[in-house]
């Protein structure tokens, strides 16, 4: 699928001249910005597979980002990451206690966690600011960054002091259609990587292994699919649910810490910017499976990266939207759904007009891209999803209501 995407983007680049679509910078930003989304989505996966809906991922990410800033300033970036995990765990513990032990509705508890976490982060930041150690009430001082590295030979990785040649970059700068685009994208994805990025991506197959190839994972999934049956077989459903939510909080906290320490170098209020929710959307898009979730996160990370880097690239993406809308409306007319079909056609016409009139998208609209992308993707993919059967249902021992 990556091949297809790069191919489509290369054609777009040729047609519109928006060279940033397949540049090294965009690919590496896309990867960087996908990581928090991947981590949040994995968090959502563990929690929902255990049967607990976790809307509070955003809040746990906020706590993680704050923890990353706080511990990172005091003890360095690696301590910051560990601290962010613990802060995420703290938020998850509250959510778990409220939903599993007390049976509060999962969405209500999650929304409450989001509100509380945002408030707590602001409160603690203000205290630190007034105490003199932080520079501003919503921002931590800078943290030293974790060093970067890349693949040997291909992407200029540095090992034991030897700087290897950067073949992919050379190939990419030749500007050959498709080959250079591929080279650029691969270079972006494999060069100048933080170790944490590699760890985060590795967590995807690791999660698959844990959930589908270990007995712990089987018990966790059974708690989310058929808890009463699992209980009758001796699975401690409460413990499994707790495990799922706590792991989810740890992952979300790590995602927040990543945002504060790797994607940037300090904690900033509102750093998470809804990425916890986008992570949830990626999990939905991936149909509660790690592979699909990675694809979804990559897609949203790409939209995020484009939005940060180059508005003209998004402008070029409009063509893609128009083509997609034309295809969808064509399909609607084939199925005699004339009203919906004409509506889609009208949207296609609107976007074409928009594309012709504005040579560049205004900055404020560009910031909407990841959220708009999430909405569009969700609305196109929502039909064939299958959630864990007991997801979102408060559970009591013995199957009581």
């Amino acid at each position: 699928m990556l091949t297809f995407v790069v191919f489509a983007l290369s054609i777009l680049r040729l047609v519109t001249g928006a060279s940033d679509l397949t540049s090294i910078g965009t690919a590496s930003s896309a990867l960087l910005l996908s990581v928090p989304i991947v981590l949040a989505a994995l968090g959502g996966l563990f929690s929902e597979r255990a049967g607990v809906v976790n809307i509070g991922l955003e809040g746990m990410m906020i706590l993680g980002a704050w923890g990353g800033g706080f511990f990172g300033v005091k003890y360095g970036p690696w301590a910051g990451l560990v601290g962010s995990i613990f802060c995420g765990l703290f938020g998850a513990a509250i959510h778990a206690l409220a939903t599993i032990t007390f049976g509060v509705d999962h969405v209500v508890s999650g929304v409450a966690i989001n509100i509380i976490a945002a408030g707590l982060a602001r409160y603690l930041s203000t205290i630190l600011y007034k105490g003199g150690s932080w520079l501003g009430p919503s921002q931590s001082p800078d943290v030293k960054s974790i060093s970067l590295n890349g693949l040997p030979v291909l992407s200029g990785g540095e090992f034991f002091g030897w700087r290897s040649p950067d073949l992919l970059s050379k190939l990419g700068s030749k500007n050959w259609f498709l080959i250079s685009d591929f080279a650029n994208v691969l270079r972006g994805l494999t060069g100048d990587l933080s170790y944490i990025t590699v760890l985060a991506i590795a967590l995807v197959p690791i999660s698959y292994f844990i959930l589908w190839r270990t007995s712990f994972g089987l018990r966790l999934r059974s708690a989310g699919e058929a808890p009463v049956a699992a209980e009758s077989l001796g699975v401690n459903v409460y413990a499994m649910k707790y495990a799922g939510v706590l792991i989810s909080g740890a992952l979300a906290g790590l995602g927040g810490g990543f945002l504060a320490l790797v994607a940037s170098n300090h904690y900033q209020e509102n750093q998470t910017g809804g990425r916890g929710f986008i992570g949830l959307a990626a999990m939905l898009f991936g149909n509660w499976r790690p592979g699909g979730l990675l694809a979804g996160a990559g897609l949203f990370g790409f939209a995020d990266a484009l939005q940060l880097r180059d508005a003209s690239a998004i402008h070029a993406l409009l063509i893609l939207i128009v083509l997609a809308l034309l295809y969808v409306s064509f399909r609607d007319f084939r199925r005699s759904r004339r009203i919906v079909g004409s509506m889609n056609l009208a949207f296609a016409a609107f976007f074409t007009w928009f594309y012709m009139t504005y040579s560049e998208l205004p900055g404020q609209l560009v910031t909407m891209t990841p959220y708009l992308a999430t909405l569009i993707v969700l609305s196109m993919a929502s039909q064939k999803l299958r959630a864990p059967a007991a997801d979102g249902i408060p559970y009591r021992r013995g199957g009581l209501k």
Binding site: A112, P362, Q364, M368, Y371, T374, S379
Partner: protein, 367 residues
């Protein structure tokens, strides 16, 4: 039976009381952690908060919170979650402020027209989420949250590029100031007559009346009309509702769009009563506090009114904490801990009531 009733009432009170105690407890811990005395903090807040000026400010805050909370409660009752109130109220305020300044009508009609525009905008924004839920099965939790973020960018774009009139001598962007006929009159003249004196720092927003009317209307709608019954049924037991003829999709659309329309009004108290325009200083976060208030008030008009007043009081009163060197943001901790403990307490009490109920039923069978 009588014993069951009194125990029910005491249980109903137990949850909020417990929540208040727990909230105070956690906030005291937070204040203690900064090496200050909680007793000083609370007594100062109380002294300052009781003053007329603070109470008026609290009521003004509570007006906006209450309207937004009613919007959210409408969907909560139907088993849906409209988290997008923040975006709906922002767009409602912006668009209605812009269009409202373009024409002049006789005073009452002008204000009503502005409110109508705000409701239309809020309702349409929520309709997007409703459409996606009904036609594509997208969870309204995520779609409304995404629409929130999108509305932030959209509002910023509209304000800076199209809707604004540059305010001379400042960095602020603002829509054109509403003419006199479009401003909601202050309630001070009326209050003066019953002995409440004018205070520095503004009066009481006239939209308080709208909020009260909305609360009464909400209570009437949900408790005394057939539609309200169907709404509550859809939330309490979707299967039973469907079997008794409620069209789930229609209910979803009506609940979400209606909620968005009411939410559109929530940004107006400040716009109509204070700034008379939409500018960069527009208060953000009303929508999220309103969610807390709706949860705290258990989606009932009276509960939400009390919770809104409480939240407004805490927010205003805590501004004075600066005087004894405590972060005013302590009110966030108070609000958060009250919310969490209330949500847990309601559930615990509900379970306990169920146990009591089944025990009582079992006793009946024992005759």
């Amino acid at each position: 039976m009588k014993r069951l009733l009194t125990s029910r009432i005491s249980l109903a009170l137990a949850a909020p009381v417990f929540a208040a105690i727990f909230g105070l407890g956690v906030s005291s811990l937070a204040v203690l952690a900064t090496k200050k005395s909680p007793w000083d903090a609370f007594s100062l807040m109380w002294k300052y908060g009781i003053e007329s000026a603070s109470l008026m400010a609290a009521v003004n805050l509570a007006t906006a919170y209450f309207i937004a909370a009613v919007a959210i409660a409408l969907t909560f009752r139907a088993g849906l979650f409209n988290i997008g109130v923040e975006g709906q109220l922002r767009l409602g305020a912006l668009v209605s402020a812009y269009f409202g300044a373009m024409f002049t009508l006789p005073p009452v009609l002008h204000v009503m027209a502005i409110m109508l525009i705000a409701m239309l905008v809020g309702g349409s924004w929520a309709a997007i989420a409703a459409y996606m839920k009904v036609k594509r099965g997208v969870s309204e939790v995520i779609s409304t949250i995404m629409l929130n973020s999108i509305s932030g960018g959209l509002a910023a774009y509209l304000l800076s590029k199209h809707f604004t009139v540059r305010v001379p001598g400042s960095n602020d962007l603002s829509t054109k100031i509403l003419p006199k006929s479009g401003q909601f009159p202050d309630l001070m003249p009326m209050l003066n007559k019953i002995g409440i004196k004018n205070q520095p720092g503004g009066g009481v927003y006239g939209m308080l009346f709208i909020a009260i009317a909305l609360g009464i209307g909400f209570w009437f709608l949900t408790n005394r009309t057939r539609f309200g019954f169907e709404l509550r049924a859809s939330g309490a037991n979707p299967m039973a509702a469907r079997v008794s003829g409620v069209n789930a999709k229609k209910m979803t659309v009506i609940a979400l769009v209606g909620s968005g329309a009411i939410a559109g009004l929530a940004g107006l108290p400040t716009v109509l009563g204070d700034t008379h325009a939409y500018n960069l200083g527009f208060r953000s976060g009303i929508g999220f506090s309103a969610i807390a208030i709706a949860l705290l008030g258990r989606n009932s008009a009276v509960g939400m009114a009390i919770s809104a007043l409480l939240f407004g009081f805490l927010e205003v009163a805590s501004q004075t904490l600066d005087l004894i060197n405590i972060a005013p943001e302590t009110y966030i901790i108070m609000q958060g801990s009250i919310l969490l403990s209330a949500v847990v307490a309601y559930e615990v009490v509900r379970r306990f009531q169920l146990t009591l109920h089944s025990e009582a039923l079992a006793k009946v069978g024992d005759k």
